[in-house]
Amino acid sequence: MESVTWLDKMEKLINSLARIWGTDEFISISKAHISGVSYKTAGDHMIELLEDIAESGVRVRVNATLNPAGMDLKYWSEMGIPKDFAEKQIRLVRAYEKLGIKLSLTCAPYFAANPPKLGETVAFSESSAVIIANSLLGARTNRHGNLEALAAAIIGKVPKAGMLLDENRVPTVKVFVEQDFPNEDYYGLLGIILGEKLSSDDVPLFFFKKQPLFNQLRLLGAALAASGSLALFHVASVTPEAIKNRNFQQELSDIEKITIELNELEEARERFFQEPERIDLIAIGCPHASFREIVVISKLLKGKKIRDDIRFWIFTSRVVRNSLEKRGILKELEKKNVHVFADTCMVVAPIESLGVKGVLTNSSKAAWYIPKFSKGEIRVGIWSIEKILLEFSERI
C-alpha cells in the first residue's frame, strides 16, 4: 500500500466520480460536511480506514464539519451509553479530528458561523444537510457519501455536475397545499408522502397559503430527503432561488401539478408510523433543534414540568447547548425533566441498547429512520410538540 499515497487515492476518487457523472470539469468547494461519525453506523472498519488515512499525514484543505456521533461526548454516561461503545466512538471522532475536521458533531452545519450562502458550492454528505443547504440557503451541493465528502475536503474540489448546474435546479413539479397545517409535524408528513411519489431527481416547487417558517421547512426537507432521496426543493416567494427566479414562471409552462390535502397527510401518519404501545423516549431535534426552538419549548412549559416517568430528550449542537447553559435555560429545563444532549441524535445513538422500544417525536425523518436503524425493534409515533407537551406534562 506504500506505492500510492492517500492524497493520490483521494484525487482518484474525485476523478472517478467525475467520470461516473459524465464530466471532466471541476469546481472548487468552500466547505465540506462529513457523515459516518457514529460508531453505531460506521463500525470498527471505518475506524481502521480513517486511522490509516489520518496516519498518512493527509489533511483537509477546506473548512470541514462533522455530522453527529453516536453519543454526547461529554455526557455519554448520563445517556446510559455503554463504556465499550464510548471508547470506540471517541477513537472514531479523534481520527476525524486528526484529519483537520472540526468536531461540530451536528447535522445542521448551516447554523454555525459563516453558513453557506446563495450560489456557494460546497460538498455536503447527510441527506438533510444537503437538501436544506440547497433549498433554504440556495447553496449548491450534490448528495455525497461520507468518503466522497472527505475526498472533496482533502482535494478541495468536486465534479461540476448534478445539483451544481442551473438546469438541474429548475422545478420539475408544482405542489399546491391549499389548507393550513394545524401543526409543524404536517410538514414532515408532506415530505414523506412526496418522497414516495417523486423521484430523487425531482425538484418540487411548493405553493403554501401561509408563509412557512425556516424550522418548519427544515422538517419538510429532512423528510423529502429521507423518504425520496431528494436534494432540492423550492417554496414560491420564500426560498432564495424561488425569489431570485421570480418563482420560475418563465420555465414552468406544463410541468406536473400535484395538490395535497390534509387527509392524505393524516392517512400517511397512519400508514407509515405505528404508534408504540409504550413510550420509553420522547425525542426532539431531528434535524438538530435550534436555540429558538428549545426556548419555545421552555416557554410552553411555564408552570409545568414533564412527568418524572418520562425520558424527554432534546438533541442539538454543542454550540447551542453551551448557549442554553450560559443563559440559565438549560438548568430551567433540567428542573422540568427536559434533558438536552449535544453531539448526537436519536437516530444514530444506540438507543435500542438503552432499552428503548417506543419513541415519540415530532420529526418524520426520525420516525422514518429509527425503525430501520434498530432492525425494526423500535416503534415510533409522530406527534406535534404541542400535543406531546399537553399529554406528558403536569403542573408544578
Binding site: 506505492s3 482518484k12 476518487l13 461516473i20 459516518g36 453506523t41 480506514l49 468518503l147 475526498a151
Partner: protein, 146 residues
C-alpha cells in the same frame, strides 16, 4: 474445446500487466456491509447466489454495489486481512465500491455489458488487460464439453 468471450469496460483502479484468475460470478448487487464476512471473505448473505463462497483471490464479477457507504471500509478491511478479490468487475458503477477499490488498490473495471453476468460461470478462467489506460479488455475462457 475452448471458447473465448471478450468484453470491455472502463478502468476505475489501474494495475500493471495482465490479471489472471478464476471468476466468481453473482448476478445480484452486493452490499459489502452486511453481505460478507471480513475475517474470511465469505459471502454470508442468505439471499446471495454466491453465498458460502469466499471472494479471496477471485475475479469478482457482479452487477454492482448497493447499501451503505460503510461498505467501502469493509472492502478496505478485506484487503488488509488478505481476503480481498484479485479484481472487481461490475456492470453498474456504485460510488461505494469505487471508493473501496481505490482505497484498497484493488483493480476494478466497470460499465461492462450485463451480458457478462449471463455468460460467465464461477470458476471460468478470466484475463483482464488494459487497452489504453482508460479501457480494459476482459477475456473469459469457456470450457465447452460437447
Amino acid at each position: 474445446m475452448k471458447r473465448i468471450l471478450e468484453y470491455t469496460g472502463e478502468i476505475i483502479t489501474p494495475w500493471s500487466g495482465v490479471l489472471r484468475g478464476k471468476a466468481l460470478v453473482s448476478k445480484q448487487k452486493i452490499s459489502f456491509l452486511g453481505d460478507i464476512d471480513i475475517k474470511t471473505g465469505v459471502i454470508v448473505d442468505p439471499k446471495s447466489d454466491i453465498r458460502g463462497i469466499s471472494v479471496r483471490g477471485k475475479i469478482l464479477i457482479f452487477r454492482g454495489g448497493r447499501g451503505s457507504t460503510v461498505g467501502a471500509s469493509i472492502i478496505y478491511g478485506l484487503k488488509k486481512r488478505g481476503n480481498s478479490p484479485l479484481a472487481i468487475i461490475t456492470v453498474e458503477t456504485d460510488p461505494v465500491v469505487v471508493a473501496g477499490a481505490i482505497f484498497s488498490e484493488i483493480p476494478m473495471v466497470s460499465k461492462v455489458s450485463e451480458e457478462i453476468l449471463m455468460t460467465t460461470n464461477t470458476n471460468d478462467f478470466v484475463e483482464i488487460l488494459s487497452l489504453d489506460g482508460k479501457r480494459a479488455l476482459i477475456k473469459v475462457f469457456k470450457k465447452w464439453n460437447p
